[in-house]
């Protein structure tokens, strides 16, 4: 009884806190929350992961493989990078409408029609300052010449940017010293932050292991601590350096330049993080129940149930994935075009399309996991303990949930982490084909798609493409490295040299 009570209490308390928090915040800050479907699902996923973590802490057989993951420096560095992305993604998943300036004699607050996220508010400087058109990273001038009115008449020259480098009197002279100084200061700040964080971490380690501060410091700096803290702290420092540079320059320059319509490329790249994470995680979340349930059922019942399930997944599998997605998205487009009254705001429409993309991606990708689970269940149901359970009169459902499911969970986990990076990459390709996210959704795919002709310009506009690729590459690489470690730790077929 105790086992189910605690998570339930936890969940109940969690919901209560959320409700209270939301209503007080709406009062105090005069905002109106707009919960999008993907927002809700993202936070549901977060709660599920937290609950699982709490559960797994007390079970040795679940902790043991994780301990292997935690000991790998590469995997833990990747985890730090992933955490950075996830934090941005979570901040970007709280949407609301801000209050408008109250008119005279108005008693009720009006809310703006624009839906913004918590992250948008945090990065307001780079969100609202649009230039006219292209400008290079850290530029003070526009990318192309324009006719400018001067007291001496009209000249064709590069006009100054509205915001980028606005504080400089003479950009040609002042810009470089200004930049060098800024980078140097960022470096100093980063070192200070790193020292402070390291001190706190080492202090915690020292308390936990009941050793002296100096001993723990030695262990961490020589890379001998049980968790590879040195690698993690260094990764943290690198991220920190970029964040500090961002904070330092964000209100003076466009750090990654601006795109064709003058949007800040850094802002677009950061906003794309949420789209990538949503597609990578929600797709698996949506497909998981079907894959697990059908896979285990097929392996457990066999006979005609197995035939039917096999038929379903062979049929779905035989349609090439891109084409099935294209077909589904095309029908959705027609449906949305013919039923415009269903959506209040464009944000909500784009969000529903994103969710639908996740669902359809899930449908195309669950078959592999389902087949794996079916095979594994086949093997497990021939083991003695399942026979014993049947002999004791355990029902089918209970056998599957209590005796088979926990023993195939490692396959599920491996599939989930391995799928993530592929899905993030797939988003870009699908957006290029025209069946990805909504054109107004900011995503790496859309950034690449709208920027791919810029390489043909002379001189070339490289920063939009480069930013999208670098941000996507970092996320996918971190996810790949982390999932490799998870697979090595959980896959019983891989013999560890330990």
């Amino acid at each position: 009884m105790n086992r189910t009570l605690i998570p339930n209490l936890f969940l109940f308390g969690f919901i209560l806190i959320i409700v209270v928090l939301v209503s007080t915040m709406e009062e105090v800050l005069q905002i109106k929350f707009v919960p999008l479907w993907t927002d809700i699902l993202i936070y549901v996923l977060l709660v599920v992961v937290l609950l699982f973590t709490i559960q797994a802490r007390h079970k040795e057989h679940l902790r043991a493989p994780w301990r292997h993951v935690v000991q790998r420096p590469l995997a833990m560095s990747a985890l730090v990078v992933l955490a950075f992305y996830v934090v941005i993604g979570l901040l970007d998943s709280v949407h609301f409408r801000q209050a408008l300036q109250a008119q005279e004699g108005q008693t009720e607050t009006q809310h703006s029609g624009e839906v913004v996220s918590l992250f948008d508010v945090l990065v307001t400087p780079i969100r609202v300052r649009h230039e006219k058109s292209y400008s290079a990273p850290f530029a003070a001038y526009l990318f192309s010449k324009e006719t400018i009115e001067t007291p001496e008449g009209q000249v064709r020259d590069y006009p100054r940017l509205l915001y980028g480098g606005h504080h400089l009197k003479n950009p040609a002279q002042d810009r470089m010293p200004n930049l060098v100084m800024g980078v140097f200061l960022s470096f100093v700040f980063t070192v200070l932050i790193l020292l402070a964080v390291s001190a706190v971490v080492i202090w915690i380690v020292a308390r936990r292991h009941k050793t002296s501060f100096a001993d723990s410091m030695n262990a961490v700096t020589s890379g001998n601590s049980r968790v590879p803290l040195r690698a993690m702290l260094l990764t943290f420092a690198v991220i920190c350096f970029f964040v500090v540079i961002g904070v330092m320059f964000a209100d003076k320059y466009h750090i990654l330049g601006t795109d064709k319509v003058g949007n800040d490329v850094l802002y677009l790249s950061l906003k794309s993080i949420r789209t990538g994470l949503v597609i990578g995680t929600l797709t698996t979340l949506i497909m998981l129940p079907f894959a697990v349930m059908l896979g285990i059922m097929a392996g457990h019942y066999r006979g005609w149930i197995d035939d039917v399930i096999q038929y379903i997944y062979t049929t779905l599998n035989s349609i090439p994935g891109v084409l099935l997605i294209a077909a589904a998205i095309l029908s959705l487009q027609v449906y949305m075009a013919n039923n415009p009254e269903m959506f209040d705001t464009v944000t909500e429409r784009a969000d529903l399309r994103l969710l639908f993309l996740c669902i359809i991606l899930g449908i195309t990708s669950w078959t592999g996991l389902c087949r794996l689970l079916r095979g594994e269940t086949f093997k497990i149901s021939q083991l003695d303990y399942i026979e014993a359970a049947t002999a004791f009169g355990t029902g089918h459902t209970k056998t599957m949930v209590r005796h088979i499911l926990p023993n195939v969970m490692h396959i599920v986990l491996i599939a989930v982490v391995l799928d993530f990076s592929g899905l993030v990459l797939a988003e870009a390709v699908l957006s290029y084909v025209g069946v990805g996210v909504d054109p107004i959704t900011i995503s790496w795919g859309n950034m690449i798609n709208s920027a791919r002709l810029e390489m043909a310009r002379d001189p070339i506009v490289w920063w939009s493409l480069a930013a999208a690729f670098v941000f996507m590459f970092t996320l996918v690489l971190a996810a790949n490295l982390f999932s490799d470690a998870v697979r090595d730790a959980f896959d019983p077929r891989i013999t560890r040299s330990k």
Binding site: T315, P320, L323, A326, V334, N338, V433, W444
Partner: protein, 329 residues
Amino acid sequence: MLAYIIRRVLYAVPILIGVNLITFSLFFVVNKPDDMAYMHLGQKHVQQEDIDKWKQARGYDKPLFYNREPTEGNAFTDTVFFTKSVSLFAFEFGNADDGRNITQDISQRMWPSLAIAIPVFVISLALNITFALIIAFFRASYVDYMGVVICVILMSVSSLFYIIGGQFLISKLLHLVPISGYSADIETATKFLILPIIIGIVGGIGAGTRWYRTIFLEEINKDYVRTARAKGLSERLVLFKHVLKNALVPILTGVVAVIPLLFMGSLILESFFGIPGLGSYTIDAIRSQDFAIVRAMVFLGSVLYIIGLILTDISYTVVDPRIRLGGRQ
């Protein structure tokens, strides 16, 4: 053997019917033919007559599944579902929105697709297996470790980056080959095709090498390898003769299934390089919302996939004499 193949082909029929049902519901049930007509003719100022004409031209003017007043045949055959399905199974895909015959288009466009897909497939298979064998030869050393890390890095790069970066580097900066285009003449075509082929190979090298490495490492840990070593065979002989041969079964599982799908071409490669193959055909159809073409390609893809599955099973018997199809021991 023959009996087995016949059984498999018969088993393919219900799957194709299922595929047809799924695509039909996606295209005709979610959106009624009327909605599609609106979409194509524009939302405003559309007369009912225009819509009827549009539907009639495509044979969409019948009821979907059940016809209460059949003009020919019976209530089930005189419907959109039945007529469209029958023509799909006969590989008569009808006309595209621009009036061209889809079947004819496909038969023309599959050659450029194959001209890219076959070299990419053959060369990357050879390269990936070679790299994987080298990595497996040096397993648990720094070569192995670095090899895997490089593979993971290569895998993490978006395929769009390989294409855009490759076009920029080779064509725009170095002017080695034209950026995009195609020609029926073989000599000029080679110039156009060489870059997409290289990019296709490079793009798949990370994932491929890592996949084959896993297969080889799994084989290396088996007993017969220990026996071969105990016999005093050199490591090279063990790897290239014993392990490679035995690894053929898992390699075939992945490889043979995709051979028929080579006809479908590579979607984004063809589209970026302006090659008039089936991949770019599909993308153009998706962009112009030509449902007839997309439906035809979905059906064709499924047929090819099922052929791939059957070929895989047959190839097992060729490489592994222990596997007998159809026989029940």
